[in-house]
Assembly symmetry: C2
Homo-oligomer: 369 residues x 2
């Protein structure tokens, strides 16, 4: 029997936390949580203080199977990162991502840090973000002095000074065609604007969809995240792929030693390991299918995503968030999408089992009402 | 017998590298090297290709005795840095440095990254740097849109929109009085300007000289470097201590996950270890004295510095740089100070012995001419 998703619960975001009514408290907790980024387990512990540890964190799109770590010698932490080693990393990343070369590749301590710098590459004007997507882009564009609007289609981005597309999109996994983005980039740059394509999840995106090879010719800045696909978000490493002159400006802003030595060493190892990357893509694809099957069995058909996260839309998000949270499972909810949830991949059989149990308990709870 | 420093050699910065004359090649090499930051061993290897490895790097002011490193679990590298852990680090750093509190303390992936952001806290205007100091300050101020001038005295800084003092100064170790800086900060902020005090080497500076406690009241931004005193430059960690509102603006620019997890973990361990800090200050003081004695015995009286580096002025810098470089010892030379050198501390007896041998060989070479 396939269950229909239960009806939408009321979400009373403005109700106070009075500490007496669990319902009100959890509603407020949900309202807090949706404003969060993923991965905030300290907040999760505060929201669900009675939940037994350890938490199962499915709130991010970070690969739960990290690239194998070799032990680093003390000298890696002690000495300044070597400039030559950073140039090696830029060259290797250019090859791995398909950018024109090291001169178009800027390593940084995470793409997050790059967002306001990239938004500042064009004079303050009107920024348009293809909606609804990663909230940090709008925030970064405002910091750089832009007035920010949301756009529903690529065509609407054409009149912006700064246009931002997340591709594949987070959280729904929507993919824009490479040729459309390249054309948009050329039109924007021809009149002094800039297209930014955030390819944070492109490592598991469709083959041939990346604009990495187009950045110079089409005047695009593409952002690549290291930590998500390689499962090493703690090291802080990301790249801007950009036309040579913009890459030079970004590098100047970051200054010397922009990337820590552990990030340099792990980046060089992982980006150079094409075999691991290919095997991991296949493995993540299989695990995403397994998650889809589990969700479908619970009456939750997957509406999109990438193989690093799955996206549920038009579901009782608050109710599922709370039911899972009480059982120590953190998923991602969204302020702008109150009926949506995003789930990262469970790391192993026991995590899949735990999620299955929690979803079954939620389903049985709703059925008994 | 005390030797006088040999006469100044000609420095022909504009001579071409022709590959035939070692003298000209090494002069050009020196011209390249002075534009470098410290710690660039790859450049040193290229300059002195016949030098046997390993190099002894005395070109930085980084403590050669790093804080003891505990092994970090894979989860430290795999998971996103936790926001709560970063707040703990801010609170601990505030206590360790004497800042008003966590609200005035901004952790970042190295102070280098903070320089243009701090310079951008005031609208583009006239920046003045107390000369001659760390070149990155002038570069960062220009990036933020300021016209940059050099000032010889604190008094000359009073008319600037952005005033920058490195205290203790790098490379000469000059120290400005805390009360003078606080007064300057108040006067600048009263008319919309800003005083930035780079306290990169204040961990080994005179007791009571830090303006960390004055940042809120005097409207100052102080910069603290983690990697230098704790000998962990590869992790990239630094702090801005700033009035609450400026700290908030800096944090917003950095965004979430501004500090890597290894930096968080080592920062929390080291900044909380007051015993190690006190013992290390005493140890470094002793080793700096030992280096002074060695240099004086070679006819090179030390003109200043801190206990993390010693400063030589009015010496045949190019000649010493080259003589040491041929023996695999890298020291710091300066574009703006062609008669000056800076030497970091040798790590141990064998490094002291190697430096002593190389200095003796240089001295005997000059005597035989």
């Amino acid at each position: 029997m396939t269950l229909q998703p239960p009806a939408r619960p009321p979400i009373a975001e403005n109700q106070p936390i009075d500490g007496h009514s669990p319902g009100i408290k959890e509603t407020a907790a949900f309202a807090d949580a949706v404003a969060d980024h993923g991965g905030n387990l300290a907040r999760a512990r505060a929201l669900f203080p009675d939940t037994p540890a350890p938490w199962l964190d499915l709130s991010t799109g970070i690969n739960p199977h990290h690239y194998p770590l070799r032990a680093l010698g003390a000298e890696v932490f002690a000495r300044l990162p070597e400039e030559a080693r950073c140039r090696e990393l830029a060259a290797l990343a250019a090859t791995a991502y398909g950018a024109p070369g090291a001169a178009q590749t800027v390593p940084a301590a995470g793409t997050q840090l790059l967002l306001p710098l990239v938004a500042g590459l064009v004079p303050p004007g009107r920024a348009a973000v293809l909606s609804t997507s990663y909230a940090e882009h709008a925030r970064a564009a405002r910091l750089a002095g832009h007035a920010v609007t949301e756009a529903e289609t690529l065509a609407e981005l054409e009149t912006a000074d700064l246009a931002i597309v997340v591709n594949p999109n987070n959280p729904d996994g929507r993919v824009a065609a490479r040729e459309d983005l390249a054309a948009l980039g050329r039109r924007l740059s021809a009149r002094g604007g800039l297209l930014v394509v955030d390819e944070a999840f492109m490592d598991v995106g469709p083959s041939g969809a990346s604009v990495a090879g187009d950045v110079e010719a089409a005047g695009i800045v593409a952002l690549r995240s290291f930590g998500k696909f390689f499962g090493l978000a703690g090291v802080r490493l990301g790249f801007a792929l950009a036309p040579r002159e913009l890459a030079r400006r970004l590098s100047a802003r970051l200054g010397p030693w922009a990337v820590s030595s552990p990030a340099l060493e792990y980046g060089l190892a992982a980006l150079g390991d094409a075999d691991w990357q290919a095997e991991m893509r296949a493995r993540l694809g299989g695990e995403a299918q397994r998650l889809d099957t589990l969700l479908a069995e619970t009456g939750l058909p997957v509406a999109g995503g990438t193989s690093l996260f799955r996206y549920l839309d038009d579901v009782p998000a608050q109710e599922i968030f709370t039911a899972l949270g009480r059982r120590g499972i953190l998923v991602r909810a969204f302020e702008a999408r109150p009926r949506a949830l995003r789930l990262g991949l469970p790391a192993d059989d026991s995590a899949f089992l735990r999620l299955a149990d929690a979803l079954r308990a939620w389903r049985e709870g709703t059925r008994s009402i």
